[in-house]
């Protein structure tokens, strides 16, 4: 090693340091998100949860392929081999890995297809809620005064709705469908996002860089989009991750009550609902959809916790856990 360095010096070249990079890369600052990712990577629990979520997403996307490999469609009824002679569901076995339901359908295939509905509703409803909440919360916090009073009271009204009761009546007015489920869930969650955003904007608005932007002649819209909202990214990512499982459970609840996605389309919620008549004889029928729901919810929640720590450099929990 020393000999090589001496050779290089003899040739008039500086010894190559191990971390020398081309200048173009060296001056590139790491974004706060890159730093957060570096912190998140050290958090084993979060990485495992992220892995689980990726698996869920893959199984939702490739549901037809997966059920093709298994060989049982989600809605195919195997009344001959899927049901016992008494007409009861089959326990998990070599053909039906997670057993069958009361109509002789493969529970595994149905759970895989149920992932589609759960994730779709979870993500879309959350996205819609965040979008509306962000717009209303930012406007409310930024302008303050009468605008704030009006929008804040509106959010209070939405927060004080008895969720389920209103959801039930809303769904029964419109016909139950995937779209209605997404809309109803977003309808009841956007005000939570709005409150958080408003609180953050209230503090950001007083920062000197907002005053600096104003003194440069920036308009309200520019200040909101260029200076305010980027500072909301971290709390929004965390809150979205925590909202997704809520939305998933909400959807399962609606489906359970028969107000969500219409059967025979499998969802975790309506599977649990269908299992009610036979769960004493066929506990796997209620167990596996519930387990799927549990795993998905837990993974999102733990990832949300990890993200909160990773995105907030002041939080010391990641370091402590390491």
């Amino acid at each position: 090693m020393t000999i090589i360095a001496a050779d290089e010096l003899a040739e008039g070249r500086p010894p190559a340091s191990p971390d020398s990079q081309p200048p173009a890369q060296r001056i590139e600052g790491r974004t706060p998100l890159q730093l957060a990712w570096a912190r998140l990577r050290r958090d084993k629990v979060s990485i495992f949860c992220l892995f689980v979520i990726v698996l869920l997403v893959l199984s939702a996307v490739f549901a037809p392929v997966l059920t093709g490999w298994i060989g049982h469609g989600p809605n195919e009824q195997y009344r001959d081999i899927g049901l016992s002679p008494e007409g009861l569901p089959q326990a998990p076995n070599g053909t039906f890995w997670l057993g069958t339901d009361d109509l002789g359908r493969d529970i595994l295939s149905r759970i895989i297809y149920g992932t589609r509905v759960s994730l779709l509703v979870g993500v879309l409803a959350t996205a819609l809620a965040v979008l509306v909440g962000l717009a209303v919360g930012t406007t409310s916090g930024y302008y303050g005064g009468k605008v704030d009073t009006f929008l804040s009271r509106t959010m209070d009204v939405f927060l004080s709705f008895p969720f389920l009761l209103f959801a039930i009546s809303l769904v029964s007015v419109f016909q139950p469908s995937l779209k209605i489920s997404i809309f109803v869930i977003a309808f009841f969650t956007w005000s939570n996002v709005g409150r958080i955003v408003r609180g953050q904007v209230l503090s950001i608005r007083e920062k000197e860089y907002i005053e600096a932007a104003r003194s440069l002649g920036a308009g309200d819209f520019r200040i909101m989009t260029v200076d305010v909202i980027p500072n909301l990214v971290a709390p929004l990512i965390v809150y979205s991750t925590l909202l997704i499982p809520t939305a998933i459970v909400f959807e399962a609840t609606l489906s359970f009550l028969g107000l969500g996605v219409v059967p025979p389309t499998p969802t975790w919620g309506n599977m649990i609902s269908e299992s009610l008549s036979t769960y004493l004889q066929a506990p796997w029928f209620v167990f596996f959809p519930s387990l799927a729901l549990f795993i998905a919810t837990l993974a999102f929640n733990l990832l949300g916790d990890g993200l909160r720590d990773a995105l907030d450099p002041r939080a010391a929990r990641v370091l402590a856990r390491k």
Partner: protein, 368 residues
């Protein structure tokens, strides 16, 4: 002198010509109470009738204690707050209470440097885009042209142009203040308001930033309003100095006149509080110790705002606000608002007021 500047605007300012004229500026902040129906219960008299002239090419120092209204005055000039009353004239045009749209062209000429180099830069944005903001907002340059001009600016203020893509957090306090200076400089303004630009910095860094501001003034012919509470910094940078107390200007003069012959008792008290590096001299000099605290700007005293604490106060001080005029045989540029100005060589550290000041002092606990 008429010239055309880089943006094609006609420039008709001259060294020594009045660039900014503030006429009886008043800013009161209402204090409101009530949950749904808010009622104004009191007003903070932040700026209470200020007359000021800033000449092109000069540096006007603005000093005073915390809460005396100097930052509010700066923000009125920068058009960040609407004025309660009064008028501001910039470059011969009235800019008081213009609408946002009408104010836009003037914002290119009046820029601001902020006190806190940590708070005045958005932590989520790259330095290049922060400094490029003025170009973007005023549609001056975009794309590669903007990047080139931003990097030029970074070089002008002594930053490495290669740090274009860094975030503010990757810079030190002094470097961050340079970023703020570059942003203020971007549109080649005529007037830069420096709101305590160095008070958040280390002393060694203060000198660097002050020298930078000085160099830029020479290079670009800038006019500064320099706000600070460090009197030695103000003496170093200013051509003229105005002393503010409770929203009013108490004394204004060329820098040497003010420091050598302070006329207002408050200026005297301020100057006597400047630390002296020599301990022997520090022991022998006469400090003027003011009694009490600054009265609340919610309910400022009648007459001269300084009378409750002034060692020379007499009955007239309670009744009448003294005009801002020269004292004795001072030049016209040296004006003070005091009925009983301090003469050369007069020692006011032993003076006693002829009025009962206990009655005018705020009661303990009443103002918090």
């Amino acid at each position: 002198m008429t010239a055309v500047d880089h943006a094609g605007r006609t420039v008709h300012t001259q060294q020594g010509e009045v660039l900014l004229r503030v006429d009886n500026a008043v800013k009161h902040f209402p204090i409101k109470q009530g949950i749904v129906f808010q009622k104004e219960v009191a007003r903070v008299h932040a700026v209470d009738g200020v007359d000021l002239e800033v000449r092109s090419g000069e540096t006007l120092g603005l000093v005073g204690e915390t809460g005396c209204g100097k930052s509010t005055l700066a923000r009125l000039v920068a058009g960040l707050y609407p004025m309660t009353s009064g008028s501001i004239e910039f470059d011969g045009q009235d800019i008081s209470n213009l609408s946002r749209k009408a104010m836009r062209p003037f914002r290119r000429d009046i820029q601001m440097i902020f006190q806190d180099p940590y708070g005045s830069l958005n932590p989520r944005r790259r330095v290049g885009s922060i400094i490029g903001d003025p170009f973007d907002i005023h549609n001056v340059a975009s794309g590669a042209d903007r990047k080139k001009r931003v990097q030029e600016l970074m070089e002008v203020v002594g930053l490495n142009p290669e740090h274009y893509n860094r975030f503010p957090a990757e810079f030190s306090g002094g470097q961050r203040q340079r970023i703020g200076v570059a942003r203020a400089l971007a549109l080649r303004p005529k007037l830069i308001i420096c709101d305590e630009p160095v008070s958040a910095l280390d002393v060694s860094i203060q000198a660097q930033v002050i020298n930078l501001l000085d160099d830029l003034q020479k290079e670009f012919g800038l006019t500064y309003i320099f706000i600070a509470h460090d009197l030695s910094v103000v003496r170093h940078v200013s051509d003229r100095v105005a002393v503010m107390y409770l929203g009013k200007i108490e004394e204004i003069a060329d820098v040497d006149d003010l420091y050598d012959k302070p006329r207002h008792p408050y200026t005297n008290a301020l100057l006597s509080a400047v630390p002296v590096p020599d301990p022997d001299r520090a022991d022998t000099r006469e400090r003027i110790i003011l009694r009490g605290d600054v009265p609340s700007p919610v309910n400022p005293p009648d007459g001269c705002p300084f009378h409750p604490r002034c060692p020379k106060a007499q009955t007239i001080c309670v009744d009448e606000m003294p005009p801002l005029v020269p004292a004795f045989d001072d030049p016209a540029s040296h004006r003070k608002a005091c009925h009983f100005p301090v003469a050369d060589g007069e020692d006011i550290s032993t003076s006693t007021p002829s009025i009962d000041q206990t009655s005018t002092e705020p009661k303990v606990g009443s103002t918090g």
